[in-house]
């Protein structure tokens, strides 16, 4: 986290330097506060990095990191596929994939529970956001074409 913040702080200061200097009369300008934030971030992170170098770090639990990475990929894939596949299909697949990842099904009954859950949850969320709140949920082009 320290290295991430250090790089972020440095990048932020570079972008601040590139901002235009013009401002309204009397206004301290658009650069002042970002400079203060960037300098403080770099200073505190540098202090922290030095402090942490003196401490022994707990071992990384790669199994847990791997599980989080896999769950994150499923979520990112879902968001990315919402427009191409349409809300209902993408959501159904996301629910099945996530539930099966959280608890791998070991029988036909377990699969049936997950599929039933996916269908009911997709319908409920679709009804709540699409119909009750009138949100424009993504609709796939192929589905639009099918409906004419």
């Amino acid at each position: 986290m320290n290295w991430f913040l250090l790089a972020l702080g440095a990048g932020y200061l570079y972008l601040t330097y590139q901002l235009p200097s013009r401002s309204i009369s009397g206004d301290p300008g658009v650069k002042l506060m970002p400079y203060v934030i960037g300098v403080l971030t770099v200073a505190f992170t540098a202090y922290h990095t030095v402090q942490d170098l003196r401490k022994s770090r707990p071992p990384v639990r790669w199994r847990s990191v791997g599980a989080v990475a896999a769950a994150s990929l499923i979520m990112l894939a879902y968001v990315g596929l919402m427009n191409p596949l349409g809300f209902e299909l993408a959501t159904g697949l996301f629910l099945i994939a996530t539930a099966a990842f959280f608890k791998p099904p070991d029988s036909a009954r377990a699969w049936a529970v997950i599929i039933l859950f996916a269908v009911l949850a997709t319908a409920a969320v679709s009804l709540l956001f699409g119909t009750v709140f009138n949100v424009n949920l993504p609709e796939a082009r192929w589905l639009q074409a099918l409906r004419g």
Partner: protein, 501 residues
């Protein structure tokens, strides 16, 4: 008086009362399920609350909040597992009572105690409101800037053992808050050419990611292991006797006082309040010897205190814009989404809404009492819902919630990214609340700073205006006090481990 009556009419209207009831049911369920928190539930409700009136929105959020705090007593009493940290002291005697077959009375007492605690702290807030409204007139741009600096300092200093990590998290939040079009000069900043970033990061996407998705990722290993698999014990009689409650008036009043004061202190948290109330009850209870073995007073005191903490926590949240804990951040966000900024001007400009909050607190408490007493057996069954399905549903609602506000896939991606960030921060020991406050208060801090300098024509204005100077000095003193306290604690720990070795 007119504002109060108008607030009563708005809250008691048909759709608003329904949203409060819905929030309450959802809150009790969330509280009853270990691992799901009030904050997570409120984050998931943010996108829905956007479509409601400000009164219904705040009613929904308060319903979830009160419900979750009260519902946490169900697993604490029946299984010895607090649904959230607010119920840690309820476990001591509540679980002992359940094992003796008296779980029903313990649950009933916990509900009635929560009701009394919630109402008691609401009354304190009600009588403090006019004073806070009068104080709002003293605030100008310089004072708002100093207040934002003091708020961020206090929250960063109370967020954990490493103050520098709290400050870094706040700076990171402020950094994210500068992304988008600058409010004074109208120039885009740090958007990297991305049009979706012109309005900055969506607050809802950030909150949903940091508190909803991050929590699921945090609990991933437990969820994959199957979570809690328990058998519900016999519940039996639920209602506590009125004679008992009257005889414990002193414990109730002192617990309200402790809860309200501790709740009003930023960073102290309800878990401190409930333990203090429990210890105080142990001193003054006529059944001292029963404590730890199944004393009803040991359930009554912490349950009064944890709901009293909610009202206490609303004092700095609403009056100063300093939320004492993460759930209060959600209430702030719900108000901000409706264009209402918590802080001194809330009491000056939106007194009708302040009264609506009081009335919503009363209605929430009544709903909590009715639903939980009537449906305690049903809510206990919620513990049997498989955790893997619940976690899946939370992820879906998080992503759709972030998407729904602007029908924006970018916001859904942002929520996932914030979720990963929140998980990573927790792992690295960085507190999340300062980041959120930095994101919320950062833009206000900058714009008020620039306005104050433009009006006064000098940077010294922050030190020449008495209230502004007092706020800055207060923040600095608090920071110094926390640093000193943590150093003392570290020295004591080192001495203890040295002595032990």
């Amino acid at each position: 008086m007119h504002e109060l009556l108008s607030a009563v009419a708005k809250i008691l209207s048909y759709p608003t009362i329904l949203w409060i009831a819905l929030g309450e049911v959802l809150g009790i369920l969330l509280g009853a399920l270990p691992g799901l928190t009030a904050t997570m539930g409120m984050a998931l409700m943010l996108p829905i609350s956007f479509y409601l009136t400000p009164e219904a929105s705040i009613g929904l959020m308060l319903g979830v909040y009160f419900g979750a705090v009260s519902g946490a007593s169900i697993p604490a009493i029946l299984f010895g597992i607090p649904g959230n940290p607010n119920a840690i002291a309820t476990v001591y005697d509540g679980y002992a009572m359940a094992r003796k077959g008296e779980g029903g009375v313990a649950l009933g007492t916990a509900v009635v105690a929560s009701f009394i605690g919630g109402l008691g702290s609401m009354l304190v807030l009600f009588f403090a409101a006019p004073l806070l409204a009068a104080a709002s007139l003293w605030f100008g741009p310089a004072e708002y800037f100093s207040l934002a600096v003091a708020s961020l300092t206090v929250i960063a200093a109370t967020s954990g053992k490493a103050i520098s990590k709290g400050i870094l998290a706040a700076l990171f939040g402020m950094m994210l808050g500068t992304v988008g079009i600058d409010s004074i000069a109208g120039l885009p900043r740090f958007t990297l050419g991305n049009i979706y970033l012109l309005n900055g990061f969506s607050l809802v996407a950030a909150l949903i990611g940091l508190f909803g998705i991050a929590q699921v990722l945090e609990d991933l290993e437990t969820t994959r292991k199957g979570g809690l698999q328990a058998v519900i014990p016999k519940i039996g009689k639920v209602f506590p006797s009125m004679k008992y409650l009257i005889s414990r008036a002193r414990i109730i009043l002192e617990s309200i006082g402790i809860g309200t004061v501790i709740g009003a202190l930023p960073g102290a948290g309800a878990s401190v309040g409930v333990v203090l109330a429990y210890e105080r009850a142990r001193e003054i209870s006529p059944e001292k010897e029963k404590f730890g073995k199944g004393a009803l007073d040991g359930v009554l005191a912490p349950e009064v205190a944890n709901n009293a903490c909610i009202g206490g926590g609303l004092i700095p949240t609403l009056a100063l814009g300093i939320p004492g804990e993460s759930a209060a951040v959600m209430l702030m966000a719900a108000l901000i989404m409706h264009g209402i900024a918590p802080g001194p001007m809330l009491f000056g400009k939106h007194m009708d809404l302040v009264y609506a909050i009081f009335v919503a607190m009363v209605v929430s408490n009544i709903c909590m009492l009715l639903f939980q007493l009537g449906g305690v057996r049903l809510f206990a069954r919620a513990l049997m819902i498989p955790p893997y399905l619940l976690s899946t549903l939370v992820l879906l609602l998080s992503i759709i919630g972030a998407f729904a506000l602007e029908s924006s896939v970018f916001d859904a991606f942002a929520a996932v990214a914030f979720g990963i960030l929140g998980w990573w921060m927790k792992r690295a020991g960085y507190p999340v609340i300062p980041l959120v406050l930095g994101l919320i208060l950062g833009p206000m801090l900058e714009s008020e700073f620039r306005r104050a300098v433009m009006i006064a024509g000098t940077y010294t204005t922050f030190f020449t205006r008495p209230l502004s100077l007092a706020l800055l000095a207060g923040g600095a003193l608090y920071l110094a006090h926390q640093i000193r306290k943590l150093r003392k604690e570290a020295a004591a720990e080192a001495a203890a481990s040295g002595g032990g070795a």
